[in-house]
Structure formats: C-alpha cells, structure tokens
Symmetry: C2
Subunit: 513 residues, 2 copies
C-alpha cells in the first residue's frame, strides 16, 4: 500500500489505505501516521478521501531513509500499515516552507530569504479550468510570490456565480433568484435555502484545491489559504462550532503537507458571527494538527485582531485608513514585533466600492512605502471595465498597471544586504529611508534607499559621513529604471528629474556590496 518509494525533500509523501466505510467515515473513523527519519519523527492525522480510501500525508524536512507506520480504527481489524522510503534532495528551486525570520521577516526552510509580494484572488481556484490556467499564467508573468484565496466559495458583488463544485454533500440554493440588487439578503438564514451535511465533505472539492496548491508550488508561489470569510450564501460561514472544528481538522490533515501552504483563519474575521474564543480554538486546532507549523494569521475588515497572540505568526492586515496606509508599517511592526504583511491596501481599479478604485500609481506607491519600511505589500485589482472578470476574486487576466512594477520592487528587496529592510525612524518626518534590518549590516552605513513617494524634488543633498565612497543610483520606481549617478564622498548633491515616485540608493564602497 505504499504510495511511492522516494520523494524529494519538502514534497508530499502520501500513503493511501483502504479502510472502513460503515457509518460516516469522516467522523466515525480515524487514521494516523508516524513518519520517522534520522532527524525527525512526525505524527500526523490522515483523512478520508472517499471511495473507501484513507490517506496520510507527510512532508519530510530532511534527506535520507524514513520509516512510516499508519494505524487507526479506520483500518480493518486493527491492522497497521508500515514501510520505508527515501527522501531525495529538494527539487531545483524548492526551498521548503516559509517561516518567520529576524522578527519582522520571512525565510524559507533552507535559509533563503523570502520577500513576500502577494496578491489576492479570493475565488480563483473555483473558476473553470480555462480561467484557472489564465490565472496561473498571469501569476507567473507578474512575479507575485503569494496569493490569498478562500477555501469556501464567495458570494458578493461581481461574485454571484456558482463555484465549480461544493465542499459538502448536499444541495445548494437555486441561484437563479439572485440579482446584483438582492444578493445581500441571501447571506441571512442560508440554512433555509441550502441543504448540506456538514459532517460529510466532498473530497473532489478539496482534491481540486490541492491541485491548485501544487500548481502554485510549481511556480514558487505561496498559497495563503483563507479558511473562513463572511461573503457567503451557502452557510459555510455559519456552521456550528463542532462543524467548524471538523472542517479545520480536515483541511489541516489534507493541506499541511504542502510546503507552500499558509493559514489565514479568516478574511475579515470581524464581519463573521464568531467570537474570539472561536478563533482561538481554531488556532489551537491548527497548532495541534499542522505538524509543520505553517504560517498563521487572521485578517481584519475594520479593527485588527490581537496580533500579539502567540499563535499569530505574522500580521495580515487590511488598511484602516483611506488615505494613509503602508506608511503605518513601522507603527505596526513596533506594536506587534512580527512581520507586517499588508494584504489589502485597497485595490487598483475603477469600481464604485470605496476600497476598489485607487490608481496604479497609488498602488505602486503603497508597495514601496510598505517595502521600504520592512513590511510586505499585497496587491489586488478591481477593474469593472473589461469583461466583468475581476482579478480580485476570479483571477484571469491582469488589466492594470501596478502589477507590472512588482517584480522590479521584488528584485530590489532581494538585494538587501543581510535579511530584510527596516526604516531609519530618526528620519521619519522626512519620509522613508530604508536600511538593512541586520544590525551589523546597518552599522556599516553602506546601504540606504531614500524613497520620495509622491514628492518631486529636483535634487537631494546627502552627507552620511566623510570616509565612505557611495555608489549612487537614481531609481524610477514607476518606469523601472536604475540610473548610475556616480560615486560620491562627503556632502554631495544628487540630481533628480523633478517627478514623483523616485528613489535614491546609496551603496557604500568600503563594504562588500
């Protein structure tokens, strides 16, 4: 019954067993695995995948020979299944799961820094195959390395279609009665119109999501999975606590072995009818049932959740102010002492919604304001113009202009000496000056990025010290050019073009840069 004799490090090793089918296999029977190599022993729950098949998944973190043993009352007559397999070196470009690093940053398990530049497409994986392929192509072209999306389907403006399938056995409401004008009323009392058995999952639904997670992994993209969200006509946001818990255990068992999974407990937790106790319970289930400790967050609509809770690995934030957004990165870093990921800083677009119509220039500006303060920006796009397919929810094709500037910023982020940027707070009233987070790097006074936002100075005067030769670059963050301005020492003036969105990078020549 072994699934395979070898697997690459950080890939999924899966054991399938035929098991008991009487009663409700999702709730009445269990299967567990223990995976043991020279450097780790991992216990993990399996899950029922339909058709009498139970599966247990494992993500090895080390190379070498492993042994496994599967047991549980789902196996016939108390038997257990065991075997061995080899873990080979990680595939080219595979760096393992992302962890927090240096308080405010992220790195892959192999130690490489991970600089998050994400986007949001809430229901992209529930669209048809053609659109899913488009989305994956768009993602690859754009350079985004994280995408937020919901496990459950979404019901909202521009999002009234049916998902490609359903997560539970049962019957959905008839969607033909829904219009753009009346859709809100269907979020109330969904149990009167839908009929689901919340104790019986549809494995095909989750299998499809897994295929999407794998496609993302293949492209080096983190899958920031949103477990709950409020925009719902089917009742998945209003299940009973024990049904919620069952769901969390199920997705933890199915998805944890995928190295690129992040857990977002909720999109806009504060719009859901759940208590802090509920969220804390969900978090504790995840902490217990995900043996790999994938990143965990919870995203707000208005007020932030208490991101100082120990299980919150990083702040996943929606802006709280229409005008000032990414400029708060320092403040939030200081408050929570965790990585700050501004997953929603409004959307580039043209829709009427107050959060959905900033310009591409403003989006790129927010990306830079966030990144230059050592935060991690998130993109989204909501153009009504076009065919009514909005990236923010459906994925598909990107129509805007900000996404084209993301890879350029990413490359500059990735050039940071040490690991991660921070800002020189002593200069805050002047704007933002990015410096390395690493204290030793910072002490060298050899790396500065001055970002000028919507300001348009025609020149800037610098005077860091009198000893260092600074290699000076003028960066146009919108047009994506880096021009050499020369090498300067002491007090010097750098000429700028007198238009917005410029930056100046100083690289000290005494150092290794």
């Amino acid at each position: 019954m072994e699934a395979g004799k070898c697997v690459a490090k950080w890939d999924v090793f899966e054991v399938s067993v035929q098991g008991r089918t009487e009663g409700n296999p999702f709730t009445d029977h269990a299967v567990r695995g223990v995976f043991t190599g020279d450097n780790e022993t991992v216990q993990t729950d399996g899950f029922y995948d339909g058709g009498g098949v139970y599966k247990v998944r494992f993500m090895p973190s080390y190379e070498g020979t492993y042994h496994y043993e599967i047991n549980g009352d789902a196996l016939p007559d108390g038997e257990s299944v065991s075997g061995g397999f080899e873990v080979l070196p990680a595939a080219e470009g595979s760096h393992g799961p992302v962890r927090t690093a240096q308080t405010y940053h992220f790195s892959y398990a192999d130690g490489n820094p991970y600089y998050s530049v994400g986007t949001t497409c809430y229901a992209w994986e529930l669209q048809d195959d053609e659109r899913i392929r488009q989305t994956l192509d768009s993602l690859a072209e754009s350079g985004f390395n994280k995408i937020r999306f919901c496990v459950f389907p979404k019901h909202y403006d521009y999002n009234l279609g049916e998902p490609r399938s359903y997560p539970y056995e049962g019957t959905p409401m008839d969607p033909s009665v829904i219009t753009e004008d009346n859709f809100w009323q269907f979020t109330e009392h969904p149990e009167e119109r839908n009929s689901w058995d919340f104790t019986r999952f549809e494995p095909a639904y989750f299998r499809h999501i897994e295929s999407c997670i794998r496609e993302l992994a293949r492209r080096g993209i983190q899958a920031d999975l949103i477990l709950f969200h409020p925009y719902d006509r089917w009742g998945f946001s209003k299940m009973a606590p024990e049904e919620d818990d069952l769901y969390i255990r199920y997705v933890a068992a199915r998805f944890s072995a995928f190295h690129n999974v992040w857990w977002s407990l909720a999109n806009e937790y504060d719009l859901l009818e759940k208590s802090d106790d509920d969220w804390e319970r969900f978090a504790s289930i995840l902490c217990e049932k995900d043996p790999y400790g994938h990143l965990r967050s919870i995203h707000n609509c208005f007020a932030f959740y208490d991101h100082s809770r120990p299980w919150v690995t990083h702040c996943s934030l929606q802006r709280q102010d229409i005008y000032k957004t990414a400029e708060f990165t320092n403040e939030w870093r200081g408050k929570y002492k965790k990585p700050v990921v501004i997953d929603e800083m409004a959307y580039e677009g043209d829709i009427p919604h107050f959060w959905g119509n900033i310009t591409a220039e403003e989006m790129v500006r927010r990306f830079w304001e966030c990144a230059m303060r050592g935060g991690y920006p998130g993109h989204g796009e909501t153009y009504e113009k076009g065919d009514g397919v909005l990236w923010w929810s459906h994925g598909g094709r990107l129509r805007g202009e900000s996404w084209k500037r993301v890879r350029f910023l990413y490359e500059i982020m990735a050039q940071t000496p040490g690991h991660g940027l921070t800002s020189d707070a002593s200069q805050d009233y002047l704007g933002v000056t990015a410096v390395p987070e690493d204290e030793k790097e910072r002490a060298k006074k050899a790396y500065f990025i001055y970002y000028y936002s919507f300001m348009q100075p025609c020149r800037k005067v610098f005077h860091i010290d009198d000893e260092t030769d600074y290699h000076v670059e003028v960066i146009d963050t919108w047009n994506m050019t880096i021009e050499e301005a020369g090498v300067f020492r002491g007090k010097f003036t750098v000429t700028l073009p007198g238009r917005p969105y410029m930056a100046v990078r100083l690289i000290g020549m005494k150092s290794e840069y």
Copy 2:
C-alpha cells in the same frame, strides 16, 4: 490738525499731531485717541511716526457723524486735539474686517461669508518695488484672498538677501560673509554682529508695510501678519521681553485700523526661544491694544499650540504628517471648535526640503480635502527651477499649476447654502461627503458634494431618499469643469470618467437651489 473730514466705513481715519521729540519719542511719550459715534466709542493708542509726528488711527464700524479727542503727554503742554468727521457708506466691495462665524467659519463684518483660500509669501513686502508689483498682480490673477507674511525680514535657504530696509535704528551685519552653506551659524548670537536700538523703530519700514496692506485691501485680500518667526540673522527673534512687548504695542497701534489685518503671533512658534508665558503675554497685549479684535492665531512647526486658548480665534496649522494632512480637518475642528485654516500643507515645488516638493495635483487634492470638510486651505509654492525667486518667500510670479485651480474651488465654496461646509462624519470611512454646516440647510438633504480624491471610480451609486429630485453635476476638480449629469430620483448611478480628482454634486430640487 484734522486728517480729513470724511472717511468710508471700515477705512482708516487718521489724526496726525506734532508732538514732543525730546528723549525717545517711541518710549517716553504717549498719545491716545477716543473716537465716538452714535453706535460706538473706541479708545486706541497712537504711535510715533518720526519727524515729530504722532498719529492715531481709527477704523469706524458705522456710518454717521463721529467726534474724536486726542491726548497724551506727547502733545505739547498737556493740550488735547479734537474734531469731528463723517463716516460714509463702505466703498464698493468693502465688507469690513473678517470675524469667525458659526464656530468653524468666517464672515465679514457686513455679514457676507468669507471663504478663505490663502497663500504664503513670507517676505514679499520686503522685496523691491518691481517684485512687489508682480506679486500683487499674481495675487489678483490667482484669486487668493489671504496672504501670510512676516513683519520682520527672513533669513533662510533661498532667502539670504537684505530686506529693503530695517525695522529699527542701527546697523545690520555685513551680509557678504553669508553663503548657502554657512548661513545657519548666523542665526546664533546675532547681537555680536548686529547693532540695533530696539527701542527706536524706523517708521519708514512700517509705513511701507502699511502701503502693502492697503494694496492687499484694495484687491480684497486679507493680510495675515506674522509678528515673530525663527528664521533670523538680525536678532529680531531674540529681543528681550520688554522689547518684544514694545514692538507688539507699536504694530498694534499702527496696523489695527486696517480692516484686512489678521494677527499671527508667530510662524513656527515652537522653533523660537520663547515660552508659553511669552506668547500668552503677547496675546493679551494684542487683545488689549487692538480695539477691533482682529483674528488672532499662532502657527506651529511641529506640535500645535494649544488652540483652545480663548484668545486664539482660529487654528492656523502646519501639517504634522507627511502623508495625511487635510484629511485631519474634521479631527482638528472637533478638537478645537474653531475654524481650521491649514496654512501650510506642504508646498507645491521641487526643492529638496521635505516640505517643499509636492505636485500640483497633490496640492489641489489637499485643498479639496480640507475645503470639503469645512476647513480653509492654504497654498505655497517652492520651485527651484526658474530664476531662484520662490513664491513661498519672495512672491513674484507663480510657476506651478495648483494656483490656477484655486478660484474654481473658491467659487464652489461660495455656493454653499447657508454658511460654510462640513462633512458627513458617518460616511468618513468612505472618503469625504461635504454638506452644509447650517443645520437647517443640512436637514433639507438638498446639497451634497462627494469628493473622490485620488480614487478613480468609473461610476457611483447614490440613494439619498425616494422623494427628492437631484440635479447631478460631475465636477472635475483638476480640469475645472462642471458637467450636468441629469436629474435623478431614488437609487441612481452616476457615470464617472475613471480618473482621479473627481467630485459629484447633488442639489435637491425641492429646495431653493
């Protein structure tokens, strides 16, 4: 010794007398006047104007026959001077001094609303005649109706020239030693390089400023006079307390009778070496010595002064945050319950200084954000390109683009039903919705301006009520166009061009608009 037999209401009636010259006429002798008409009796100090001449000025607030009596020890042998004069109707376009009105707003003495759209040219009146003429022409073309400027000359970047004359008898430092690089050091210990008698004014200096105040009045422009400021190489910012007090009494006696005078105790009070007690004492002198109660304020660099002090008639503010500025108008109105005038919300320009290089678009946006919340915006311009004459300090020619959009905004402000705008705070998270301040006007639900700032919606949906016909206009605040969109009732959609800086005005047709 009568100066004239008649004067227009709110103009200056001046009595000159020949008086004693022994000792120091500025400190050793005094002259006072009492002006009496049917509706008012005003007592006011006179001042020494040089050449043995003392003057007493009066601004009548009513038409009709007045009597005056001048006395004081400055007059020879204890004599007094008296006489009568007629006050005629106010000149065409003369509305009298500006007062606060309806808590957050201003009106002229004749009851007409005054909607302030100001600018700053710190030392315009100390330039040569040709530049002063240019400035006055520029002001008239622009439509600004207030200008902030300093009584004392200014010493700062781009401002190292000599003023046209000096306010005191004495000898200034040799300016030939000053360069752009060393100028800061001359702000320290000015007494070592300058030699002034701070008890002897140069009347010609003040007479010239008066001529500028008159020129402004002729153009309907308020003269927001800054009494102290920190950018100084002559020592005028570091006089002894009794010298400061003498100066304030002198300018109060000279300038109070000009209807368009506002008192700004300081530009950037927090950079001056004066205590709160000093400022409070200055304010009390002004309250006592200005019989007309001209508007009084005190302007910050960083932290605001306590604008809740009773003598502060309105908040004269410099932005405290690089990114968010005019959007704080509501907050400041709420905190101080006084008119909010954001006299410095950064400068349109291209200079390196962090406060001096926003775009014209951003300046105009800040004007609208402020005005739509019932505040009063202030302009400034600092372009290094050109001939080194920066409007912000010298006046001269306007080089930017924001000033061209000021009159358009002013005209919309002036169309407000009742008196003054406020914003509908219940909608703050959506942006800004301007409504009339006047409760009766607001209750009509007949006047709304929705301003979309940097957002670029392609349409907006409105639903105020089901009874009112709304006349809808689409306003392009940058291109200064107002397009009729039609008349709508109930829930309706207004199409927008999908670019920033747009507004929609709804005017209810059941009302008188």
